[in-house]
């Protein structure tokens, strides 16, 4: 991250490179060295882990986009987003199995079922997220900024307990319907369909979202509201409706991530949303919060970091340390480059 910051100053003004930038460069250098050694030692594992990382990153991206959309417009960390994702996973399991009677080994019938589930879950999660905004955030829009942050934590806890009351404290299992057959095999590394499906779903959603935000009237309203609520209200934008819509979209994205996660990982538990939400938030910050492509980039990076950490053999800290590593990245980013990789410097970072 710091390498990016120092890139323009490397050539002409070398002496102005700050201490933190040097530390960052050394850190990135060590990271690259570590990855390189791993690649040389076990190339097969490396590529396999890389592919897993991309897949996880896609799920993170969908959740991270929810954080970044909401933060972009309200400057609020919607802690509940991760739990909306968790509920999305539970909705996915419930809808698909008890409404559509989904089970393993059904053949091509699963395609319309999964699509119908996806639509239903996205609608439900979008509505939940918009309701949270209406109940817990809107009345506090003029309060000090701590107030909505506190209610966001409260909302997150309530959603967790809804999940707990609904599905109990154990893992809920989804039918393993995504095919595990190989798309291609290169040098002993197989890329399976279930991973590809996640990517195949995420990419069009991202493009659609970019189109929505940058090309449509609604998107224009969102961007205007994010820049200046008063001015956009004077231009005739219904600010409250726009914010509700943003939450709806964010919730729907989290819901879709929940569906993918439920069918890809096949287990969901009530407290997974919060952890994953924090990781996704880190991804959003890494990419530059408020910046949509940044969120995706950050999510892919975090997904890769997590996969490398958990999957590589040579001196990898292992899954015990994943959270520490992710949060260290979060802290380092916030301290040294608060605007993230692709974001613009704001007074917030100051």
């Amino acid at each position: 991250m710091a390498a990016d910051a120092s890139a323009p100053s490397l050539g002409a003004r070398l002496p102005r490179l700050s201490v933190s930038a040097w530390i960052g460069l050394v850190f990135v250098g060590l990271l690259v060295f570590w990855l390189g050694v791993n690649l040389v030692k076990t190339p097969g594992d490396f590529i396999e882990v890389f592919l897993i990382g991309i897949t996880t990153g896609c799920v993170y991206a969908l959740v991270a986009l929810g954080y970044t959309l909401v933060y972009g417009i309200l400057e609020l960390i919607n802690f509940a987003n991760g739990d909306v994702f968790m509920l999305g996973g539970m909705f996915a399991i419930t809808y698909s199995t008890s409404i559509f009677g989904l089970h393993e080994g059904q053949g091509w019938v699963i395609v319309p079922i999964v699509i119908a589930t996806l639509v239903l879950v996205m609608a439900s999660c979008g509505l939940i997220n918009a309701t949270i905004e209406r109940v817990a955030y809107r009345p506090l829009r003029h309060a000090p900024r701590l107030a909505p942050l506190i209610t966001a934590i409260g909302a997150s806890f309530i959603l967790q307990d809804i999940g707990l009351a609904w599905k109990g404290p154990n893992y809920v299992t989804a039918p393993d319907i995504f095919p595990h057959s190989a798309v291609f095999t290169v040098g002993g590394v197989t890329y399976t369909w279930n991973k590809l499906i996640v990517v195949l779903f995420t990419v069009p959603v991202l493009l659609l979202l970019l189109y929505l935000v940058q090309r449509t009237r609604q998107g224009k309203a969102m961007r205007a509201t994010a820049q200046d609520m008063d001015a956009s209200a004077m231009m005739g934008i219904d600010v409250n409706r726009t914010i509700s819509f943003t939450f709806l979209i964010a919730g729907a994205l989290a819901g879709s991530a929940g569906v993918l996660y439920a069918f890809y990982v096949t287990t969901v538990r009530f407290d997974q949303g919060f952890q994953l939400g924090l990781i996704a938030f880190t991804a959003a910050v890494l990419g530059g919060i408020g910046n949509l492509p940044g969120a995706v980039l950050g999510a892919l990076l975090i997904g890769l970091i997590q996969a490398f950490n958990e999957g590589l053999n040579w001196h990898a800290p292992g899954s015990d340390w994943t959270e520490s590593i992710v949060f260290s990245i979060l802290i380092l980013i916030l301290v040294f480059r608060p605007e993230g990789l692709l974001g613009e410097r704001t007074p917030e970072g100051g």
């Binding site: 000090p144 701590l146 942050l149 506190i150 209610t151 409260g154 806890f157 009351a165 008063d230 209200a233």
Partner: protein, 522 residues
């Protein structure tokens, strides 16, 4: 203009204030009659719940008015009433009635409430072990909390008062307070257990075999050390991150709050060194005590060893080691509250409040932002560390599972429920929530499950399981309807109601009524 001003003044009066004005205009005897009447009515209702409560209420009301009305030889009557209350109510509620009545009859007329209330509260709290077992049962909530629960409650109150310095005074949202608590607990564990058994180092430790391996320090050293280490961690966390504003700071503290417990969890082979004993935690810890020497010097008043204590029977109460832990915790709490109150209006405290209200303006007035915020962090962390250390010593164990994010939010919830920035409020909020956490939720759940039934349906809810959801509801409800908390500080309340942002042009619907009124009047 004048008309508008008078109208707005009338507007401010409202129903409650009108009622209060009429109340104050009444002759004193009439007021006495009314309030005694109300007390009688309530105590008739209370009679169905608990006899003693009803007697206590009646006695207290009568006492109050006897004190108020100068024409009575009030002290004598008051004391007679106490004796009567004793005879009628029986020994169950006697302790509390006697305590309050005693204080009321001996406090000189004109003592400010700011002194009477805290002194009464402290007195009642200190003698709690004596009357805990004799107390009546509260409807729904069940019996009064154990003394052991009381110790934990006091420690949570300490942490809430510490967090209040950060959140309430300085207005910095700290979502990782549990890290300081963990730091304190592990400091105590390192300095008073067999954890580092490859060395043998005894620093003033009393009551244990001097050849025991490991580091053993006296608890009276450990507490300040734990506080200091937590404060140093606070400064280390604060220095790089306090430049960030508001929610970025919150998320960074949350990150630290997640990292430190994970280090504790994975620290059983930290580069080949067993630092924290991993998920098994460090246990047992040395029992605290004053040692035989001091104990003998004070005639056995200060126990040599908390766990091997005590033989004394005072006022019909067999003093147990839990009681000693309770009183020690009480002393620590009083120290914390004293520091917190003294800090509030000190130069530093005023700087904190200035930063909370407007950081830019404070900086422009010459408040050094970084240093002031770092001090807030360090002071908050200090008390968190002490509380953590004492908690570890009290339980004689430290487990990484105790330091989840939920605890941070739990403590934050106490501060918010009680009233950010107001120490008495925070104490009340923390005591209530800590009680709920330890006993209240379980008792309430048992009551709900056994007493509520609709037709043939009976609920079977494991209420404590949903504790965090209940805290979530509390957070949201309090922030929406009473952001200043139950017992607010007036200044913070004004701030939270006025808000810090300018009133936006596009969202006038909320204040439509206000606008119209103003328009009509002008």
């Amino acid at each position: 203009m004048t008309q508008a001003a008078s109208v707005s003044a009338a507007d401010q009066i409202g129903f409650r204030n009108q009622l209060r004005a009429r109340w104050q205009a009444m002759p004193e005897l009439e007021r006495a009659a009314i309030s005694i009447g109300i007390a009688v009515a309530i105590s008739i209702l209370l009679f169905f719940v608990d006899h003693a409560l009803a007697y206590a209420l009646l006695t207290l009301t009568a006492l109050y008015w006897i004190r108020k009305l100068p024409q009575f030889p009030h002290k004598l009557i008051a004391q007679a009433l106490l004796v009567l209350a004793y005879l009628v109510a029986g020994p169950r509620t006697v302790a509390i009635v006697l305590a309050i009545g005693f204080l009321m009859t001996w406090v000189p007329e004109g003592t400010p409430r700011q002194i009477i209330y805290p002194v009464t509260a402290v007195f009642l709290a200190v003698v709690y072990p004596f009357y805990q077992a004799k107390m009546f049962t509260i409807p729904v909530f069940g019996s009064w909390p154990d003394v052991a629960t009381g110790v934990v409650m006091i420690l949570f109150i300490m942490m809430a008062v510490g967090l209040n310095i950060v959140v309430g005074y300085a207005g910095l949202l700290d979502l990782g307070y549990v890290a300081f608590y963990a730091m304190g607990a592990y400091t105590a564990a390192w300095f008073a257990s067999l954890q580092f058994s490859h060395t043998t180092l005894h620093i003033g430790a009393v009551g244990i075999d001097p050849h025991l391996p490991g580091i053993h320090a006296s608890i009276w050293l450990i507490l300040p050390i734990a506080g200091a280490i937590a404060a140093i961690i606070g400064i280390l966390i604060g220095l790089p991150t306090l430049r960030l504003r508001g929610d970025y700071l919150a998320i960074v503290t949350l990150g630290f709050g997640e990292i430190l417990p994970q280090i504790a969890r994975n620290g059983d082979s930290f580069l080949g060194f067993n630092l924290t004993n991993g998920p098994n935690g460090i246990t047992p810890l040395d029992s605290p005590g004053f040692g035989n020497h001091i104990s003998r010097l004070t005639g056995g008043f200060l126990p040599a060893n908390f766990l091997q204590c005590c033989n004394a029977k005072v006022l019909g109460h067999q003093i147990q080691s839990t009681d000693v832990f309770f009183w020690t915790a009480m002393v620590l709490l009083l120290f914390t509250v004293f520091c917190s109150l003294r800090l509030q209006y000190s130069r530093l405290g005023r700087a904190w409040i200035a930063i909370r209200e407007d950081e830019t303006a404070a900086a422009a007035m010459g408040v050094p932002l970084m240093r002031t915020k770092t001090w807030a962090y360090a002071s908050g962390a200090f008390f968190g560390g002490i509380a953590g250390a004492y908690y570890a010593v009290f339980r004689s164990a430290t487990f990484p599972g105790d330091f989840f994010f939920n605890i941070s939010v739990f403590i934050l919830c106490m501060v918010i429920l009680g009233g950010m920035g107001n120490v008495p409020g925070v104490i009340v909020g923390a005591a209530f929530l800590a009680y709920l956490d330890r006993e209240g939720l379980a008792n309430t759940g048992a009551w709900i499950n056994s007493n509520i039934h609709v037709g043939g349906w009976r609920p079977n809810i494991d209420v404590p399981l949903y504790a965090s959801g209940i805290y979530g509801v509390i957070l949201i409800v309090v922030m929406l309807f009473r952001p200043e908390g139950l017992l607010p500080s007036r200044r913070r309340a004004a701030e939270l109601h006025e808000g810090v942002h300018d009133q936006p042009l596009w969202d006038v619907t909320q204040d439509q009524a206000h606008f119209d009124e103003a328009g009509v009047e002008v």
